[in-house]
């Protein structure tokens, strides 16, 4: 698709920069029975962000926004680790954590769809209170767990491939199926594109909105499990901090409008990968922490300028004009 061309170019450019600094950047080896390499790292560490961003895409497509995903990430991880540390089975722990996440998401959806509260405020409530809830669960401490089965989710490998990547692929496939194969995607886009028209067309917008927020929270819940499993511990204070911002950024870079309507799952995945590659680039080329943000600002600016048709047109036109002028001169 043409829309995805520029994000792809940017991703490629970022990767190329890395190769300049780390010659073996593209090398992928099998070490101790699993894939090892920088590209794998990008996918592995980007996995939670991709998940959260996928959920966020659908929320944004309905014209909403979900600020609470970061807190849900923390809650899910905290609850799972607490359960495991209290000797509940991993399966129970995971089910409980995801169940709670979905419930919290549905709560968001209820506030938006039924109570008619603006999404940003409705989810701000859970963003604030949810962080507190996560800390309540962990008692403000870091719960360390040691369970190989739990470790698999975010830090383990299946058939040499990091399990997290497989999980993301699975969620992506399911989401794509629900939205593009089934009619969910079109109905979401209709609700986001013109809510009143959709109502008059007989779409049950409320149900869809609740579902979408619940889905976003489920994605965040899985991401929370991944993050805590990756470091074998739950950090109610910091897990998922500011991830909502990165997720929204990923969605926007991917070409979905914050005003709702059309959305692109592939674009979101690309957006998330760009953000994660950017982070990795910062580490590997050794940008000092004080200038990290300047570097990020630069990249984000370039990304959004390149994606803007108006900008390209202006630049190209000028270039075409100067080229023509030069020709005349010559």
């Amino acid at each position: 698709m043409r829309r995805l061309l520029w994000p792809l170019v940017i991703l490629a450019a970022l990767l190329a920069v890395n190769v300049l600094f780390t010659p073996g950047f593209f090398a992928i080896q099998v070490r101790e029975g699993h894939l090892y390499g920088s590209l794998i790292d990008i996918l592995r560490f980007g996995a939670p962000l991709i998940l959260v961003a996928l959920g966020m895409t659908l929320v944004i497509a309905t014209g909403g926004i979900d600020l609470s995903v970061g807190s849900v990430v923390a809650i899910s991880g905290a609850l799972a680790c607490l359960q495991i540390s209290q000797d509940a089975g991993v399966f129970t722990a995971v089910v409980l954590a995801l169940g709670l996440s979905v419930a919290l998401g549905a709560w968001n959806g209820f506030l938006v769809a039924n109570a008619g509260i603006q999404p940003i405020i409705a989810t701000l409530i859970l963003m604030v209170a949810g962080r507190g809830l996560a800390q309540l669960i962990t008692d403000g401490q870091i719960i360390t767990v040691n369970d190989p089965a739990f470790k698999l989710i975010g830090g383990g490998y299946l058939l040499t491939v990091p399990f997290g990547i497989l999980l993301v692929l699975a969620v992506l496939a399911v989401t794509a199926f629900l939205t593009r194969r089934l009619a969910l995607g079109m109905l979401i886009e209709a609700v986001g594109g013109n809510a009143e028209a959709s109502r008059l067309a007989g779409i049950r917008a409320r149900g869809i909105i609740v579902m979408v927020y619940a889905f976003a929270a489920l994605c965040a819940g899985v991401a929370g499990l991944m993050i805590s499993s990756n470091v074998s511990s739950a950090d109610g204070n910091n897990a998922g901090l500011w991830i909502e911002l990165d997720a929204i950024l990923a969605v926007v870079i991917g070409g979905t409008s914050l005003a709702g309507g059309r959305f692109s799952l592939a674009g979101t995945v690309l957006g998330a990968l760009i953000i994660q590659t950017l982070t990795t680039t910062i580490y590997s080329i050794g940008v000092p922490p004080e200038t990290t943000l300047l570097f990020k600002a630069l990249v984000v600016t370039v990304v959004c300028l390149l994606q803007s048709a108006a900008f390209r047109e202006k630049v190209f036109k000028r270039r075409a004009r100067t080229a023509a002028a030069q020709e005349v001169a010559a």
């Binding site: 780390t22 560490f45 800390q135 950090d235 204070n237 910091n238 990795t280 590997s284 922490p289 990290t292």
Partner: protein
């Protein structure tokens, strides 16, 4: 005085303390909060607690509200060093004594607070550096160090970096080849360390500004097929329980303690201050350092 504030407690002998905490950003901080709360209960001091969520303005608001509520003594852990003069003057005008904990403030007018109880982050950085210099003193090969910094701009990150750099800067064989923030968290520590391992094949030492980042980095090192503590020597700060465990297991080589358990000392000081007794202007918390052997003996009676 009652829990709802109001009249000063000095008349009936009981003391009300307003305590403004930085936030709950880490396990260390939570342990610190707990220690203060428990100590207050034990010593019969009524504690008014507020969490500033890492924001100085919230702390100022809280202190101002304590003044409003006419507490007997105010204690707080400043988010940053600067910018306290105005509100401290208000406290002085209201004749409420102030105790600083954990971090100092940079007011020229030291009469604005009674005393400062806490650790010295620069000194912690120095201790880490000194151990490094000592353990490598009989080799002349260059030592490649990577550093995991705390949250950019935060006082412990700034100071622990500075103290460390000051000590190792004396010998050119020590080279910090990469330094990046890990936001004091395990997840970030792991992520950054993985990137370090890829772009720097030859790392000898890791210096992490807290245990959590060090613990995350250990996972990364193991994932890369190296042995933490052997292939890469690890120094961290804090001495939380998980860190001490790793130290005892030989995965970390050295930990500089930074104790959060200031509560009892704080309550003692508070009582003295309220009675009008003189107290030293600076009370340093009792802190030590741990090697792997020391950790094994100390581990069973660690509180947090």
């Amino acid at each position: 005085s009652g829990g709802s504030g109001g009249a000063s407690g000095s008349d009936d002998g009981s003391i009300t303390m307003g305590f403004s905490q930085v936030g709950a950003e880490s396990g260390w901080r939570t342990a610190n909060t707990k220690s203060v709360q428990e100590a207050a209960k034990e010593s019969g001091i009524t504690l008014k607690f507020s969490d500033a969520q890492q924001k100085q303005e919230n702390q100022i608001k809280a202190i101002r509200s304590y003044i409003q509520q006419k507490v007997d003594v105010i204690a707080f852990s400043p988010v940053v060093e600067s910018g306290w003069d105005t509100v401290l003057k208000e406290a002085r005008d209201a004749k409420i004594p102030v105790i600083l904990t954990d971090r100092a403030v940079d007011s020229k007018d030291t009469a604005l607070y009674k005393t400062f109880l806490g650790s010295d982050f620069v000194e912690e950085g120095r201790k880490a550096g000194q151990w490094l210099v000592q353990s490598f003193n009989n080799s002349t090969d260059p030592v490649n160090i990577v550093e995991l910094q705390g949250t950019t701009g935060s006082a412990p990150a700034n100071d622990r970096k500075a103290g460390f750099a000051e000590v190792i800067g004396a010998d050119p064989k020590f080279k910090v080849i990469a330094s990046q923030t890990g936001d004091f968290t395990r997840a970030k520590g792991k992520e950054v360390m993985e990137a370090f391992l890829k772009s720097n094949p030859d790392i000898d030492v890791l210096y992490a500004h807290n245990d959590d980042m060090g613990l995350g980095a250990i996972e990364a090192i193991e994932g890369a097929g190296k042995v933490p503590g052997k292939d890469i020597k690890i120094i961290t700060v804090d001495a939380v329980k998980d860190g001490m465990q790793a130290l005892a297991d030989g995965k970390i080589n050295y930990i500089v303690e930074c104790s959060p358990l200031l509560g009892p000392q704080l309550m003692d000081l508070a009582k003295k201050v309220v009675k009008g007794e003189t107290v030293p202007a600076r009370v340093v918390t009792e802190e030590t350092t741990f090697t792997q052997e020391q950790a094994k003996t100390a581990l069973p009676n660690r509180k947090y």
